[in-house]
Structure formats: C-alpha cells, structure tokens
C-alpha cells in the first residue's frame, strides 16, 4: 500500500481493501455498516413486536415466534447494533482525538470486528435453521435449558464469538490510550469522549469475562450434559442470574458512557464554550463505572435474595444518580452563557437531556426495592430502559453520526433531512414508550405474547404501536439521507463545526490513513481551540517530518473468524450427527491455523518515506 491508495478503485479492490484493512478508520466504517445492518434487523423485529401488540389477543405471530422476536430484538439491538456502532465511533474518533497515528493492536482491532460480525451472523442464522433463541435476551437458565431446538445454542455461541471480539476491542483501546497519546496530551487534557472510551473499555474488560463464563456454563449444560443449572443434580439457576447481571449491569453503562463523552464534546463545541467542570465530569464517569459493578442485584430484587441484599443493592443503585446528576447539570452549565448553534447533532443532544433524565428518574424509582416488586418484569421496566437506551444511546449515536460524518466521510449530512429524522423519532419515541410506564403499572408484564381483552390495556398499546411507526419513518429518512449525502452531499472542510479537539485538526477530510503527518504538540485541554485563540490557528508539530511506520493489512482476521463461525455450527450440531465434528474440528483448525501463521510469521509493517509525505503535501 502506498499513500496514493486513496484514488478511485474498482469494487473488487475496494472489497479486498476492507477485508484486509487494519486501519482504525476503515474498521470504523465496517463497524458502522455492520451495526447499522443489525439495527435495521432489530428495528424490524421491534415493529413485529409492536404489530403483534396493536390489539388484544392478536395473532399476527405465534407465541413461539413472538418469544423469538423479543429475544432477538433485545440481543441484536444491544450486542449487535448499539455496541458495535459505539465501537465504530470510538475507532473513528478516539485515536484522532488523542493524536495517535494508529491504535496499539491494529490486527486485533480488525479481528475484533470480524469476530463480532461472524458472531452476529451465526446468531441470525438461527432464523433459517429451525428457530431463533426464545429465552429473552437474558436467557435465564432453567427455561433456557428446557427450550427445545437449537435456538439457545445459537445464542450461546453467537454471543461467545461476538463477545470475544468486543473484549479484544476493549483491550486495544485501553493500551492505545495509555501508550499512544501525542506529546503533551496528558490524561487530564483528553477530550471526554476519549475518557469515556477508556472507562468503557475498562468496563468491557471486567464485565465480559463474567458473560463468557456464564455462556460456557450454559453451553456445557445444554451440549455436554453438565449440571450447573440442573436442580435435580444439585445445580442452581440463580448462578446464571448473578453471572449474567454481573456482566449485564456494567453492560448498560458500556452502552451509555461513550455517549456521555460524546455529548460533552458536542455541547462544548456547539456552545463555543469549554466543558463546564471538566475534572468533575471525568471523575463522575469513573464513579459511575465503579458503582456500576456494585448494583447488579437490582435486576434480581424479586429473586428472593433477602432483605439485607435487597437493601444494600437498593441504596447502591440510587447512589448512581449522584454522579449522573453531576453530568446532567454540568452539561446544562456548559451551555449556560454560551452561543448555542442548533443543528442536527445538537438537536439529538438536546433531545437527550429531558429524555434521559426521565429514564434515569424511572431508574431511581426502580432502584427502590419494594417499589420494584411492582415494576419488575412489567412494561414499566421496558419503558425505563428504552428511555435510557434509546433516549441515551440511540440519540447519542445519531448525534455522533451527524457530528463526525464530515470527519469520517468528508461530507456533511443533509440538515433538513436530519431535522425531519429527529422530530419524527422524538415524537414517535415518546408516544411509544411514555405510555408503557402506565401499562406496566396497570398490570401488563413484559414478554407477553398477547394481552387479554377487557383489562384496560388496549388504548395504551395502540398508541405505543403508532409511535413505533413514526420512529420507523424517521429511520428510513435517515437512511435516505445517507444515500443522498453520499451521492450529492455538501463537501466538508476538515473543520466544519469550528471544532475544539484534535480530530478537527487533521489536514484533509477524511483524514489520511496515517492520521497525522507530524504528531501535534498539545498545549492544553481543547488543543485546537487553544491554537485558534492563542496560536497560529493550527497545531504545532511536536516532531520533524520523518518516516512513518505503519502496519500491514491482513486477511487473517477474516479467515480466523470464518473458522470460529464454522466451528460454531460444529458445536451446535455435534450432538445431532457425528459428521458435525468435522465442522467443529475443521473450523477450529482453520482458526488456530491462522493464529499460528500470525504468530510464526514476523510482520514488521512498512514505512512511509519522508519524501513520499512531502510529495503528498503539494
């Protein structure tokens, strides 16, 4: 590869380029595309759910299929849509924000993506192979053990593979941030999005292993006859719940913290003010992450853990409101006294504040254990988490896409369509989910295939379904916007928003694959802003122009993931027929073979010569 690789290429070449890329910016594109695809899938599943619930005792889908829908909707949205899109945004922005040329482990980065992709595909293959998992995204043991067919097996292996990918992504980001910040970029000068990436990665690192173990136990029980959850042989189903939520609660903060970081950057940029209370914001993020590990049992208040455990976890849960509140008020204070520009990115961020506050408010209400005896497993909980997940994570993702689109693709997303998307989504969202709080309290448990007539639940559900369709319209407009922008969108300068942080300081938009010709010298928080107000208006280099060392691309991650994908099928079906051992061992051999090739073959990367860079400048 050379610098001139930016020219137009044939489709084949481009495909090859993406299959083998280890460039974090391209991996970001892959994550966004993969995550976007699964978001549409999850959204369509949501629509099926809502259509089924449009009227009492509807039979649009069968009971079994409905359970598959909710399971796949939840699993897809969380593991295959939201998280990958977040990893995509992190890949796109974080290395640039800290002034790095690359990530610490480009190879692992790409492997992480492909594992996620093939894990997700494996999971979704279940639709065509006798039925999807139907135990809910939480897949509680005991029901998950008795569930017939291979649905749950797909869940186990799909998530195991995708989860391994995520873990790699997390470690990669951690090392990148610790080791590869540009000269002068101290920890306390990092933009909040990078901070959030760091802390989120810590959460990934400590939360995912619990899921890994839980999935292994379930897999052993289902496929190899062990007895972890088999009560007759002394097993205990509550172990699953603990392990799942020890992972599960940090997971929801994995979903929100990156966006907290992003909103901090967006509010500062579009208010033309520095972030209010930067230090407090950083420590609040850490505190949320820390507390996030100590509240998991609030999902288990009704399990019967006893009053002592319930009380401790109730208090710990409510305590999280404090650091989160600090953030909400600091964002408002950031805008206070500013000069606020309202465009699409900012609209989504502004919409986030009331929406998320409502979601957090119901979260605290859920945290009150005795009150949760009523809320638990009802539509009140469904309303709560859609308020925080959609109102926080999805709004944030939209904000991030509008904000960074110019940096990623060199074009600005159309504003009009952006606004249409926002308003339809916002209205649709509140229509769908606000009413669900009341449905829950009125006696509608969640995961209900039908609700019976004459229970006072009809109108609420109808409204909810209508709202979902408004959201669908919004999403469709957004996709049209993407296509329109790609075709004839407005070209963007590298710094369209009068940015403050380093990702706006690159020379071209999209940035060259080596990011910075010369690493910039960072003189403080919001480095680009400092240079704009007190310096030359652009970053001072911290080093003379010299050779740049870059890693080679590699197809191995792709093949390795295919190996695990095949082995996954082997695991799932080996009990049915011995021939599947072929897939199991074959797949593993392929994957391990690639691993061996990777370890045994030295790969020193290549250098872009100084002269080449100079030529590029003209």
């Amino acid at each position: 590869m050379s610098v001139a690789a930016t020219q137009k290429k044939g489709f084949g070449a481009m495909l090859w380029d993406y299959l083998t890329t280890v460039d974090h910016k391209k991996i970001a594109h892959l994550y966004l595309a993969g995550g976007g695809f699964f978001f549409i899938l999850g959204g369509l599943e949501a629509l099926v759910i809502r259509i089924q619930l449009i009227k009492p005792e509807n039979d649009f889908v069968s009971a079994g299929l409905y359970n598959e829908m909710i399971t796949m909707h939840g699993t897809t949205m969380i593991f295959l849509a939201a998280m990958p899109i977040l990893l995509g945004l992190m890949n796109a922005a974080m290395p640039l924000q800290i002034g790095a040329r690359d990530v610490a482990f480009p190879f692992l980065n790409s492997l992480g993506f492909w594992l996620f992709m093939f894990g997700g595909l494996l999971l979704n293959c279940s639709w065509f192979l006798g039925g999807a998992p139907d135990g809910g995204w939480t897949s509680y043991a005991s029901f998950a053990l008795t569930s017939p067919g291979h649905g749950i097996d797909f869940y186990v292996l799909g998530l195991q593979i995708a989860g391994a990918g995520t873990l790699m992504g997390g470690i990669n980001f951690l090392v990148t941030i610790v080791n590869m910040r540009a000269p002068g970029m101290t920890y306390m000068r990092m933009p909040l999005f990078s901070w959030a990436t760091f802390i989120t990665s810590v959460l990934i690192l400590f939360a995912f292993p619990a899921l890994t173990v839980a999935l292994f136990l379930l897999m052993f029980d289902r496929m190899f006859g062990s007895a972890f959850f088999d009560v007759a042989l002394g097993g205990n189903t509550v172990i699953w719940q603990h392990l799942f939520w020890i992972f599960g609660h940090p997971e929801v903060y994995i979903l929100i913290l990156p966006l907290f970081g992003l909103f901090s950057d967006v509010f500062a940029t579009f208010s033309k003010k520095r972030l209010f209370g930067y230090t407090a914001m950083v420590f609040a993020t850490m505190l949320i992450a820390f507390l996030g590990f100590m509240v998991w049992a609030h999902h288990m208040f009704t399990v019967g853990l006893g009053p002592v455990a319930n009380s401790i976890f109730a208090i710990a849960t409510m305590a999280i409101a404090v650091p989160t509140g600090i953030k909400i008020f600091n964002w408002l204070a950031t805008m206070w006294g500013g000069s606020i520009t309202i465009n699409s990115a900012m609209l989504w961020s502004l919409g986030f504040i009331p929406t998320f506050t409502i979601g957090g408010m119901t979260g605290v209400m859920l945290g009150s254990a005795v009150a949760d005896y009523q809320y638990h497993d009802t539509y009140f909980v469904v309303a709560h988490f859609h308020y925080v997940i959609v109102g926080g994570t999805i709004f944030g993702i939209f904000a991030g896409l509008h904000y960074w689109w110019p940096m990623m693709f060199g074009r600005i997303l159309n504003e009009t369509m952006g606004k249409i998307t926002f308003w339809f989504f916002l209205v649709g969202f509140h229509l769908t989910f606000f009413i669900q709080h009341f449905l829950g309290l009125m006696g509608m448990p969640r995961r209900y295939w039908v609700f019976l007539e004459d229970q006072g639940l009809d109108l609420g559900n109808l409204i909810s379904t209508i709202g979902a369709f408004l959201m669908a319209i919004a999403v469709i407009v957004f996709f049209i916007n993407i296509i329109y922008t790609a075709a004839k969108g407005e070209k963007s300068s590298p710094d369209p928003w009068d940015g403050r942080t380093l990702e706006w300081a690159v020379e071209t938009s999209p940035p060259p694959f080596y990011n910075f010709k010369q690493l910039p010298l960072i003189r403080g928080l919001d480095p680009l802003w400092i240079e704009k107000t007190e310096g030359k208006g652009k970053m001072t280099p911290a080093e003379p122009l010299g050779d740049i060392h870059m890693p080679n691309g590699s197809i191995l991650p792709f093949i390795m993931s295919i190996g695990f994908f095949i082995a996954g099928f082997g695991f799932i079906y080996h009990g049915d027929h011995a021939i599947w051992y072929l897939a199991l061992y074959g797949g593993m051999a392929l994957a391990l073979g690639c691993m061996a090739v990777r370890s045994l073959k030295d790969d020193h990367g290549f250098h872009i010569k100084k002269e080449e860079l100079e030529r590029e400048a003209d």
Partner: protein, 207 residues
C-alpha cells in the same frame, strides 16, 4: 527488514522487552488481559463455591481428594514459575542460550504438571465414577480445574512455539517482548493454581 531489530551488545537496552512501542503495547495489553482473566477465574471460583457441596448422590470432595498428588503438582508449577524468572533474568543479561535452557526446563515442568492432572482426572473417573456429569459439584470441579489446565496447555503451546520459532534468530527487540509476555502469563497461571489448591483441594479436604 526495513529496520533491524536484532540486538548486539552495543545496542542492547536494559529492558529489551519494553524498548519499542510494540513491546510496551504488548506488555500492557497482556497485563490488561490478565485483569480480565482475574474476573473470568473469579466467576469460575464463585460457581465452584456455590456448588461445591452439591454432590447429589455422587462422591464428595472429602472422599475424592488426595493431598499427595496435589502437593506434587503445586511444587511443579511453583518451580516452573521460578525457572521462568531465571529465563527472564538471562534475557535481561542478553544471554540467549541460557534463556532457552531455562525456558526448556519451564516447559518440562509444565508438561509434568499436566501429566499429573490428567492422571488425577482419569483416576477420579475410573475409580470413583466421578465425572463432569455426576453432579453439579462434578461439573463445577472439572470446569474450574479444567479451565486452568487448558490455560497451562495453551501456555505450553505458546512457549514451545516461541522457543522453536526463535531458536535460530536469537534475541531481538521484536521477540524479547514476546518472551516477556509469556512469562507474565505463566506466573498468572501459577497464581490461579495457588487459589485452586487452596480453595478446591485444601478447603475440600477440610469440608
């Protein structure tokens, strides 16, 4: 190779394993990975603790465990930890041959450990009919100890791969970090074993 990473006495830095950015990254990455592994093993230990008395009708830990073999295994693994320290000592002194020798000893000790473990498992299965499927306790026992054994096996492959791969190349800045990360990983396996012999075997014997 565009850049010569290989070492000669003049260019030998004090800490060859951390002299390059790649080396530093590997070093840190491995440590973080171990942080995650801590939680992984904690989950397995937790599961084991929760189920260790759920023997159903199968044999219990008191009936099963013999301390002699476990003690031997412990000494083997602890010693292998020390020998890998020796290997790293020689790496820092840029003495490749001695490093290889000590790594070889480490590998042998690891293999001996694994052999004992395999013997132990077959013993339980044939003598007591105590298997993975006997009871929740059986599942938890084999899973926890087996995961550790799996880590040892993986470590052995890694180590032997490293030794063969680099036998002819000697030490250089490209592979020094690899030896170092391996040794960290190996110590960690030892750490896990310390808890296994304490929590599983000794506590199992106490009841």
């Amino acid at each position: 190779m565009s850049q010569d990473h290989s070492l000669n006495p003049e260019t030998m830095p004090n800490e060859p394993e951390k002299a390059t950015l790649e080396g530093k990254n590997k070093f840190l990455g491995l440590w973080f990975f171990l942080g995650g592994e801590t939680v992984l093993f904690a989950s397995l230990f937790g599961t084991y603790l929760a189920l260790r008395n759920s023997a159903a009708d199968g044999p219990t830990s008191e009936e099963l465990f013999g301390l002699g073999l476990v003690f031997l295994m412990t000494i083997l693994l602890l010693t292998s930890s020390l020998t890998s320290v020796y290997a790293m000592y020689h790496m820092k002194n840029n003495n490749f041959k001695k490093m290889q020798v000590w790594l070889g000893i480490t590998a042998l000790l690891g293999i001996a450990f694994l052999t004992c473990e395999i013997y132990e498992f077959t013993h339980y299965i044939t003598e007591y009919g105590f298997t993975f499927r006997s009871s929740a306790f059986g599942s938890a026992f084999y899973t926890l100890v087996g995961f550790h054994g799996g880590h040892v096996t993986f470590g052995l492959f890694w180590l032997i791969g490293l030794m063969i791969r680099n036998a002819k190349r000697g030490l250089n800045l490209y592979n020094a970090p690899k030896f170092n990360t391996f040794s960290l990983y190996w110590h960690f396996i030892d750490v896990v074993w310390v808890f296994i012999f304490t929590v599983v075997y000794l506590m199992g014997k106490v009841g």
